[in-house]
């Protein structure tokens, strides 16, 4: 067994001591501080409202928070413009999470004896911290709002996670709002406000899944994640009480990466894509606000470059666009303090994208048994919000291939039928020792495990093998 990490804890006694200290810290704070508990804290400071108003448990939005966001970060009381704030008010917040985490992965291919390869189980743990978000958002004037999020990774390398302006209530109608720039797609199940943070649990598998070409060969024709922020323009409309929501976006096909002329991948820059989402909420007695909706992303990606220089494709000259799409249905069901989000997901790639084949090669250039890959997915995420200070989280995701990119032909076994099938399970608890209108803090505790079928090839047997990875995380999530 091999280990690495910023801190090595070798003895069982030392590990136990760490666990014990952590438990004691939590217990002490739980017992010592029982005030009424507490997103973008700059909003909380601006309006003097606790985090729990807009967030069921931050960063997860409540219906009130969703309405506030849909209204362009405005309460609608003719007190939203910055002119009503003290000149010293600066709409800036930051969020980062120091943590201790344990990561495991089985079946990692490593060097063996005599220049052979073998497989190993790798376990690593240590103290760490996440990247940091600088969240700046608010109104520039009535019905003019903005969001700017410079975000760093753990090394301090910054990129812009969000850069957008929004024109709200155009012509006095809540059905006419335009947003331009880089923004999160109108996903009801927001990955930017996900309540799990670990390496395996900190994103939605369904949002980022791309089918495997073959065991050990990942798709490389394009990169796309429904949870990634994208660049473009969005029209969004909603009823006054936000029960009905609808949006349509026109986006550059760069998966949110800037500067389409140089772009990412082989040949970004010649594709526009569309995203559509709609949902309707309704009340069911005293159970809470239920919401059902659907979404569809229609994308295209180039498969080769028109020009090359020294044999290297010239970025931004991609052609031979091929289509892919993602679509789904979502329901958010509330039974008082318990809620469960259910999602059905379907994805499809063209045969050229699914097999990493340039379209100018034509059908003859496709590998034997090539098909357009498609898959189905599902998500069940439940929360028990005991009170604004405590939330229990549970999530199970599954992805099942319905059509592999390459199927069996004479002399070729094709892909295993389960290639890429994924199961992910996450459980967590977040405790907010205080809730205020100034800052937010949460003890974050999470375990997540992900199993991907047949995605590796064993160097020993030459047969496809599964990859299982897990994360255990204890974090101190704070935002100010």
């Amino acid at each position: 067994m091999e280990r690495w990490g910023s801190v090595k804890i070798r003895s069982t006694a030392a590990r136990l001591a760490v666990y014990l200290c952590y438990t004691l810290c939590i217990l002490t704070l739980l017992l010592a501080d029982c005030r009424p508990a507490s997103a973008i804290p700059a909003f909380a400071r601006k309006y003097g409202m606790p985090c729990s108003s807009c967030h069921e448990a931050w960063p997860k939005l409540s219906p009130f928070g969703q309405q506030f966001k849909d209204n362009g970060y405005q309460m609608g009381n003719d007190r939203d413009a910055p002119i009503f704030q003290q000149a010293a008010y600066w709409p800036i917040s930051l969020r980062i999470t120091p943590n201790w985490h344990l990561e495991t992965a089985n079946h990692v291919i490593v060097d063996g004896a005599n220049e052979t390869s073998t497989i190993a189980n790798i376990k690593t743990n240590g103290f760490d911290y996440t990247g940091m978000d600088l969240l700046t958002a608010g109104t520039l004037a009535k019905n003019f709002s903005f969001l700017l999020v410079p975000s760093s990774d753990e090394t301090g390398a910054f990129h812009f996670e969000s850069v957008n302006v929004r024109f709200s209530n155009i012509l006095g109608s809540s059905w006419f709002n335009i947003k331009a720039g880089k923004f999160e797609l109108d996903n009801l199940l927001s990955e930017k406000r996900i309540v799990t943070l670990s390496s395996n649990g900190g994103f939605y598998q369904n949002y980022h899944f791309q089918p495997w070409v073959a065991p050990g060969v990942a798709s490389s024709a394009y990169v796309f994640g429904l949870g990634d922020n994208q660049i473009g323009v969005e029209w969004m409309g909603h009823s006054k009480n936000d029960r009905t929501r609808i949006s349509a976006s026109l986006l550059s096909g760069t998966d949110g990466n800037p500067d389409f002329q140089t772009g990412v991948g082989t040949a970004a820059g010649h594709a526009y894509e569309g995203y559509f989402a709609a949902s309707q909420a309704f009340e069911v007695g005293g159970l809470g606000l239920q919401r059902v909706g659907g979404f569809a992303y229609l994308g295209q990606a180039s498969t080769y470059a028109r020009y090359s220089s020294g044999g290297v494709p010239v970025n931004g000259t991609g052609i031979g666009n091929e289509a892919y799409y993602r679509a789904g249905l979502i329901g958010m069901w509330y039974i008082k303090k318990f809620d469960i989000t259910t999602m059905y997901f379907h994805g499809h790639d063209s045969v050229y994208l699914g097999t990493n084949t340039a379209r100018n090669l034509g059908p003859l250039g496709l590998p034997a048994g090539a098909h357009a890959p498609s898959w189905n997915g599902a998500l069940f995420e439940s929360h028990y919000n005991l009170n604004p200070q405590l939330i229990l989280i549970n999530r199970y995701e599954l992805i099942r291939m319905s059509q592999q990119a390459i199927t069996a032909t004479p002399g070729n076994p094709g892909n295993p039928s389960n290639l890429g099938n994924t199961d992910a399970f996450t459980v967590g608890v977040r405790y907010y020792p205080f809730i205020s209108s100034r800052a937010g803090f949460a003890f974050h505790n999470e375990y997540s495990i992900v199993r991907q079928r047949s995605v590796l090839v064993s160097p020993i047997t030459g047969l496809p093998i599964d990859l299982t990875s897990s994360s255990l995380m204890f974090g101190f999530d704070f935002a100010f």
Binding site: Q67, L140, A141, G288
Partner: protein
């Protein structure tokens, strides 16, 4: 013997733990249409959404109260601005519910339309637990609102005369901009400075935006503020005339009243004189 002693200790501990809770819990219900709100459920919602301003005791002294203007409502006093009942009386549950749906323009109190009907009803029930008045008093009788008469120029003109006669201008100003000679001296029931409503700033007043809402405000007054009830001073038809005239003061809102008033020579001169254009603050506020 040991068991009996243990039982006694357990009973004492249980009593110590639960009796204060039972004593402090004041069950209250609200009734809005077919909905029945329960204060126990409302309490949880209150401590999620409301306490930051209104305070844990409902006395308007939440941690943000010092930074909020006007001050958050003190529920303990049992005095509410927007009612359908006479001045000095308690509001109906429906009045409190409507306030939650509507929010209060020009204040920090937002609309809570995003909540479910049941949640708002529960909140109303809990808010009522803060004031002893809700235990000892019943809400006042609803002030009737007669059907609105047809809009005429004569009605607007008569409303204009009433605006002078009732000295509305002293606080609201001759142009309805909330800048009358008394405006700077006004305070609310907590001795906090308060500004009269500026009709030119919006077509939404704190207690609603319809003509019926304006009528109701005259007749009920806005308790806790210097705005009195005119129920004993003006007749219903006169109140409607005043409503029609006040609509013409909202020069940024193309209401039927304003359109009719602008159609007369006298009205056009007055309206044009009141209009302030080319304001670039983007705040909706006109100087």
């Amino acid at each position: 013997m040991k068991n009996i002693r243990m039982k006694k200790v357990c009973l004492v501990l249980a009593a110590a733990l639960f009796l204060p809770l039972a004593a402090s819990a004041q069950q209250m219900e609200s009734h809005i249409g077919n909905l029945t709100g329960h204060s126990e459920q409302g309490q949880q919602l209150y401590y999620r959404y409301c306490w930051g301003c209104h305070g844990a005791r409902g006395d308007g002294n939440g941690e943000n109260a010092p930074y909020v203007t006007p001050n958050p409502r003190n529920f303990v006093q049992g005095t509410f601005k927007c009612r359908s009942t006479p001045t000095g009386t308690l509001p109906l549950d429906q009045d409190l519910y409507n306030s939650l749906v509507r929010g209060f323009n020009f204040t920090n109190m937002p609309s809570w339309a995003a909540l479910t009907s049941q949640q708002r009803a529960d909140l109303v029930a809990f808010i009522k637990t803060f004031s002893p008045r809700f235990k000892s008093e019943k809400p006042g009788d609803v002030i009737p609102i007669p059907p609105e008469p047809a809009l005429t120029v004569a009605s607007i003109q008569h409303g204009s005369e009433l605006f002078q006669k009732l000295e509305c201008w002293k606080c609201h100003g001759q142009e309805g901009r909330g800048d009358g000679p008394s405006a700077s001296t006004l305070t609310d029931s907590n001795d906090q400075p308060i500004r009269p409503y500026n009709f030119s700033s919006s077509n939404r007043s704190k207690c609603g935006s319809s003509n019926q809402d304006l009528y109701r405000i005259f007749m009920t007054g806005v308790d806790g503020t210097p705005m009195p009830s005119f129920a004993d001073v003006v007749k219903p038809e006169e109140a409607w005339d005043l409503v029609h005239y006040l609509r013409t003061l909202q020069t940024n809102n193309k209401s039927p009243e304003l359109t009719m008033w602008e159609g007369t020579k006298q009205g056009a001169e007055i309206v044009n004189a009141k209009k302030v254009e080319n304001t670039y603050t983007g705040s909706g506020v006109k100087p």
